[in-house]
Structure formats: C-alpha cells, structure tokens
Symmetry: C2
Subunit: 467 residues, 2 copies
C-alpha cells in the first residue's frame, strides 16, 4: 500500500481549486421544496456529473418523478474481489426562508476571514454541499496520486433530501443492482464539536403535517363578530398549546406506544457526553421546553417530539386590519424514534385534532414525508475502522452519537437493501443549517476531505496490502 | 318648505350617473394602512374635492401628518340663524388581505346582477365609500332642486379611519371653529337588516397590539433542537390560548376593572332584538366563543373583547422546512366598553405577556390606535327626528343598536367638542367589510341617499318652514 501522505498532500496542494469549485456549486440555488428550484436543481445535477466524469467516476443524471439523482460508478462491471463502497450525499438545499434575516447573500458565497477563520456563507454551504464535496475531493486526490481508486466506488447524490426523499424508494428499487455495496457512507451528519469528529449511529424518523382550520364563516370584521364567532387562530393556538402537557410530554393518544427507554449503557454514555463541551454549548437552551426526566441529549436523540415549524393566519400585511380570519394554518413536524410507525402517528395526530375541533369548524390536512427511525450497530468492522481513521485525522476519538435529524436514505438502505451504513459528516451546530446565514469554513472542508482518505486507509489497509 | 318628493325624484333620475361616479371612487385603492396607499389616497382626496366643489360645497384637501382630510363647507361665514349640520365619512379603505381569497378584483368594480340584485364588489364598496356617497348624492340633489342647501353644511371626509385616525385629534383641534355644528352625522354604520334601518347609539373603543416573541437563538434546525430549545410559536400559542378562561372571560389582570353590566332596560331591549331576524342571521355562530352569561348581542355591543387578528411564525414558504423559528408574531385588537381606558388596558396586556414569558426569551410590542368607547343619548331631538326620517323611507322603525366597531371621530367629537353625534349608515353584515369580496348594492345606495333627504326634512321641517 502506497504512502497515504502523498494523497493527503495532494488535497492540501489542490485546496484552492477545490474551494473555488465548491463555491460555484453553492451558488446554484438548488432548492428542492420550491417550484423555482427545478431549473437550478437540474443545473447542479449536470454540474456534478461533469465533475464526477472528470475524476474517473462516469456519472449519469437519473430522472425521477421529482428531482434527479446523480449516480456515478468507478467500474461498470464490479470486480467481485474488490470492496464496494458507496458514498451518499445530497445536492439539494433548504428554502431560504425570510430573506430579510440573512446578512449574506444566500447564493453568492465568497471567502471571508473572521477571527482567523476562513468562512463562506450560503444556503447549502454546510447542508450539504460541503459534505459531498469532501468526498469528491478525497476521491479525486486518491485517483490522481494512485492512478486508480482503492475499491469499487459508487457515488449517489440525491436531489430531494430536503423535501423528504419522496422518490428515493422507487429509485433504489429500480437501481438495486447498481447500488449493491459492502458499506454505504452517508455523508450528511454532524461532528461532536469543532475539534472532535463523530459517527452517528441513531437517527430519528420524520413526518410533516400541515393543518388548516376553517371557521364556518369566511373573514369577518373582528369588531363586529369577534365577541361571538369562531376564530381559527384562537382554535389553532389552543390546540397547539395543548399538544404538550406540563411535563413536556406529547398529549396525542398513543403517541408513545411502542417507544422504549434507551438501553442503560447508551443512556449512561450520552449522560457522560452531556458533561463535555460539544453541540450543547453552541445553542442557548434557556427557556427551553424539554421533556421532564430526560437529559437534553436523550431528548434530542432518543425521544420523539412534535415541533411547530410554521404558523399563518389572518392579517399578514404591514398595517393593522381588524379581521376575524376564515382560516389559520400550522405546519408541524414529528421526529420519531424506534417503535413508532410514521403513518400510524400521522393518523393519531389527525384524530387528535379532529376530536378538538369546535362544532361547525373544518380541518384540512396535508401530509409530507414519512420515514422511520434507524438505530445502527455500534460494533461493525466498518464503523470501528472509520472511527480509527477519524481519530488519526483529528487526533481525538470519534464520538458515537445520535441525531434528531432524519436521513431517509439510511432508513431505505438499512431496511430495504440490508446494506450497512456508516453516517459521518462534518457539520457543526454553529453552521446555522436550515437557518439564515448558513455557513462553513475552509479548514473543516480540508480536514473533512483528508478524513475520508484516513477512513479509506483504515478500512482497506488490509485488503489493499494483501493484493 | 318645498315638496321633498321633487328631490327624491331627482335622486332616482340621476341614479345611473351617481353609481358611475361611485364606481370610479371605489376603483382608487386608497388603503391607509399600507405605504402603497399614499398616492391613491391623495388621488381620492383630490377627486372628492372636485366633486364637492361641483355641487356647491367648496372643499379643501387639508394635509395632516398622515393622510389628508377633505373639508367642505357650504358657507365660509356661517349664518347664525341657520342650523349647522356636519356629515362625517371616510374615504380610506382596509388592506386587501390575501388577494387569492377574492373572486372579484378589489379595485375594478362593476355592476353584476345576482338574483335580481344589482351588486358591485370592491374594497371600500361598503366600508365606506358607498356610505359617504349617499350623503354627497343627497346634498347634490337638494341643491340642484332647491338652488340652496337647507342648512349650513359641513362635510368632513377622513383618510385614516381604517388605521385608527392617528391625526384626527390634531385636525379637530386645529379646525375647531370650522367644525362647530349643531349635530354631526356619522355616516359609517350598519343597518339592522336589509329591510330595517338603524341608528347606532353605543360604540366600542379600540386598540391594536402587535406582539413579537423571540427565542434566545435565531432560527435552528428543528430536528436537532426541537426537543430542547424554546419555540416562539409554541410560547405564543400557549399565551394566546390562555387569554380566555373556559367561560370565555379575558384573563388579563384588571381587564374588567371599571366595566359595568348594561343597564337593565338596554339589556332587555337587546334581548328582544336577539329574537328578530337581523344581523345575527347573516353569520354562522356555530363553534363560536362568546362569554358565558351574555347573549350574542350583549357580547358584541356591550362586552369588552380581545381578538387575534393575525399570527405569523416560522416557515411561510410553499415547501416544508424543518425550522425552529427565532421569532413569532401575533396581532391583537381590543374592543373596549365604557369604563376602560385604552392605555391602561394596553399596559395590563403587556404586563400579562411579560409575566408569562419563559426565561431567556424576549418580547417586543408595537401599539396602534387607542380610542375609548362611546355611549350616546337615545333621547335627543336630532336622533328622534332622524329615526322618524328613516322610518319614512324604509317603512319600518329604525332600530337603536350598538356596535362592536369603533369610529374614532365619534369619541373625538363627543368628548372633545361636546358635539351631538348621530350615527347612521347603510352597511349590512353580508357586505363582507374588512373581508374578501366586499360588496354593496345599488338599491341600498339609492335608498340611503333618499334617507338623508327624509332625515333633513324631519330635522329641519320646522326650521325651514318658519323662514
């Protein structure tokens, strides 16, 4: 096996080029959840295909019913003797949200130096264009130095992760054979802290619900009828306020059915992690609303939640308007744990709302997403080797962590293909993902790319040195 | 005194011209509460000045710190022997709100026949451009037939009623002398039913509050932090849900301080009115949220309320976004009764919110308006004569009613100038004022204009016949 230091040096030497390219990718507003994103999504897919082709990973842009998947493979006919590694990333991004809250342009990234850190801002800067770019840059460097990849490589870049991967299951079914692999690296996850890497072994499930309550009347003058007619905002507020009891538990009937407490060793490990500086230090939990009896990490990674993501009703204009609105809408998401079936939870939630609806009012639901939680093994050889590789690059052991986030592909791969998944990424809480002024920094990009070289080496060391 | 039938016939004959002009006025989007309304407001004021000048009421457009007042007087030097009558209306309109909810263009009114009724749709069609137009058309006809007005006439048309008349007090102070009158007719009120006229003798006060709750963090990923960090939408919902107890009473400390129950005769009269078909038949009160122990009319006209007029927080985009928002905003209005001081209620409300704010969160308030309730005498000669005039035109007695609406000028005139006010208008609940597809019909316009002739005759009959 050749000296990996050559490859690491190549990453360092080529770094300015890699950053320039990444900024070009971030500049493409590939928002999957909004209609305006369709053309930029197509542009980003094509751009990635060209980049993958150029580094010896022939790629195709595979259409789906929604946004396309970019699929690249180092060899059309896999060598049965070689290890098959799949890398998953997504090139779509979240909507911008309220543009006025951004200090930086969401799609005009450039390097700015802040307290010695070289940072770039933009929607997707962290989630997840930098993530996928660490992989592509690592693979480029390896091929460039060695002339070949160290294994059969498959790269799968999705365009619908941020809208719940509605077409991923069909894609996986159709491309089952081409996706067969020994291990799938899911490159869309968080570190533990700016200096300590992590592997995510537990992911929550996710479903979205949009609830619109309508009064018997359309908009009315609130001065005339406020005292007597139904107000959908008041009804909705009352229902939302009642979704948690005073211990922070969700009141939907059957919500916790099948949910088990964490295994004691995991609970103890997370309790220890709670004491370290890490992701909890990056946000202010004052006034927070956790569930009684659970530490923050337990609640974040191991307990199911209902979150209100948006609410809209009545006057939205600049001036005051004395209106009793005809409708009000809330958007909610549910983060599920093992034992909860998304569609069962959806139905229980809808029944809960219907049971609380005043006479004469109506409710309409719009559902989206629906993935189950995943708990991965902490013992597999690929995970153990990956942890070793990460430790070599960062000089400190990788934390085995959970996440409140969902990556639908992990569920699909684990449950449908039975593939082993290792979830690694280099996002930090301070990156403001899904929020205004999302950001990343060049040093993490460099060390992220280098991490993959270390991981490949740790995993393949024995196999390659044997040939 | 000449035959008033001539004047009534003139109104009927000239009717198509009057309707055409009114539609032109409605087509001007004179929204006072939005910055885009400034130019149309100025246009509408100028348009009204020209119309008033043309019928012998020399008018001026008086600038204020906000939108101008149009002030017209039949005589620069009032004749101390003649009765002085002031007519008040407003030419500004509410914001359109959600344009998608309108089936008709808000500012392109035209006559459409629906089940034999000739109707026109548009913001301001009912509130209040048709109202003021009944007055102008009545005055035009009188002058045209008689060659003179039957009294000294003052017409005051406000451009800021729909945003709480912030500059009206200053205007009244500055133009005190020119506004001196024996009676002020306030032409911005409702009938009792499509066939029965009404005089409004009791008006609520009004104040607006906008409340924005901020979490310690800006927007966060709700998957990651929803389980533990403060969610302003949840906080706001809980506060809003708690503003009323389970008897429908407002829970703000001291809210009912100074509020007295209705005098028994008024209560009895309103109870009787409740049994008649009237405005209660026009809306569906199923699922409504009245206050226990009060009939709907008592609640609407005689009990103070808090109404939620708008709410906004988190994701407003077309797609789903897993965001824990940094802020959430609610807009509320308070409808006050006698005994409640607007600014005292405002402070009590703010204290109520502050006391319920979780640690680490912040709240910001933006206040608007602030008028007290008004209870007018039901016994005055002008009111009695007006009721007689209305009965002549409509063939049925005028109902003496209350309203949940506020007309700041009534408070200003009653409390500041000590002028007698008579509040009459021809709005119906089905007109959808402040709501999408606001409407009016030509027959009510005609009978409204004719009503003023009857009222003038009833009031002035003795005076004019004596000259």
């Amino acid at each position: 096996m050749p000296d990996r230091e050559d490859v690491l040096r190549d990453i360092d030497r080529n770094f300015d080029v890699a950053v320039d390219k990444l900024l070009k990718l971030i500049a493409i507003p590939s928002i999957s959840a909004e209609p305006s994103g369709a053309a930029p999504i197509a542009e980003a897919a094509e751009w990635l295909k060209v980049e993958l082709d150029a580094i010896g990973l022939p790629a195709k842009v595979v259409p789906t019913k929604g946004h396309p998947v970019v699929l690249a493979r180092s060899a059309a006919d896999p060598d049965p003797e070689r290890t098959r590694l799949l890398f998953y990333g997504h090139y779509d991004v979240q909507p911008v949200g309220d543009r006025a809250q951004w200090k930086h342009e969401p799609f005009e990234p450039r390097i700015v130096e802040e307290d010695g850190v070289h940072r770039f801002y933009g929607r997707g800067a962290s989630d997840s264009k930098s993530q996928l770019w660490t992989v592509i840059e690592a693979l480029r460097a390896w091929k460039s130095v060695d002339g070949d990849f160290p294994a059969d490589i498959i790269v799968l870049l999705e365009g619908e992760e941020e809208c719940g991967s509605p077409n991923l299951a069909d894609f996986i079914e159709a491309y089952r054979q081409e996706l067969e692999c020994d291990v799938a690296f899911i490159c869309d996850a968080e570190m533990w802290s700016p200096t300590q890497p992590a592997i995510t072994t537990q992911l929550k499930g996710l479903l979205h619900e949009r609830v619109t309550i309508s009064a018997p009347n359309p908009d009315l003058h609130s001065g005339h009828y406020g005292a007597v007619a139904a107000n959908p905002i008041r009804i909705l507020s009352t229902i939302l306020a009642g979704l948690h009891d005073d211990k922070g538990r969700v009141t939907i009937g059957g919500f916790y059915h099948g949910v088990e407490d964490l295994p004691e060793p995991v609970r103890r490990k997370w309790l220890e992690l709670s004491k370290e500086p890490g992701l909890l230090g990056e946000v202010d939990l004052t006034g927070g609303m956790g569930e009684d009896g659970y530490t923050p990490l337990e609640a974040m990674w191991g307990r199911p939640t209902v979150d209100i993501n948006g609410i809209t009703g009545g006057n939205q204009g600049p001036g005051e308007r004395s209106v009793l609105p005809g409708t009000a809408t809330a958007r909610l998401s549910f983060r599920l744990v093992a034992g909860q079936e998304p569609e069962v939870i959806r139905q229980r939630f809808r029944s809960h709302i219907e049971a609380r609806l005043p006479k004469g009012c109506r409710v309409a639901f719009e559902g989206a997403n629906g993935t189950s939680a995943v708990v991965l093994s902490q013992e597999s050889q690929f995970l153990t080797a990956s942890a070793r590789g990460l430790e070599q690059e960062w000089g400190t052991p990788a934390v085995l962590r959970g996440t409140g986030g969902a990556i639908p592909l992990v569920e699909q791969f684990s449950h449908r293909l039975g593939a082993e998944c290792v979830v690694i990424g280099f996002i930090l809480p301070g990156d403001a993902i899904h929020a205004p002024d999302e950001r990343y920094d060049t040093e993490r990009l460099r060390k992220g790319a280098r991490s993959w070289i270390r991981i490949l080496e740790a995993i393949l060391g024995q196999a390659t040195s044997a040939t």
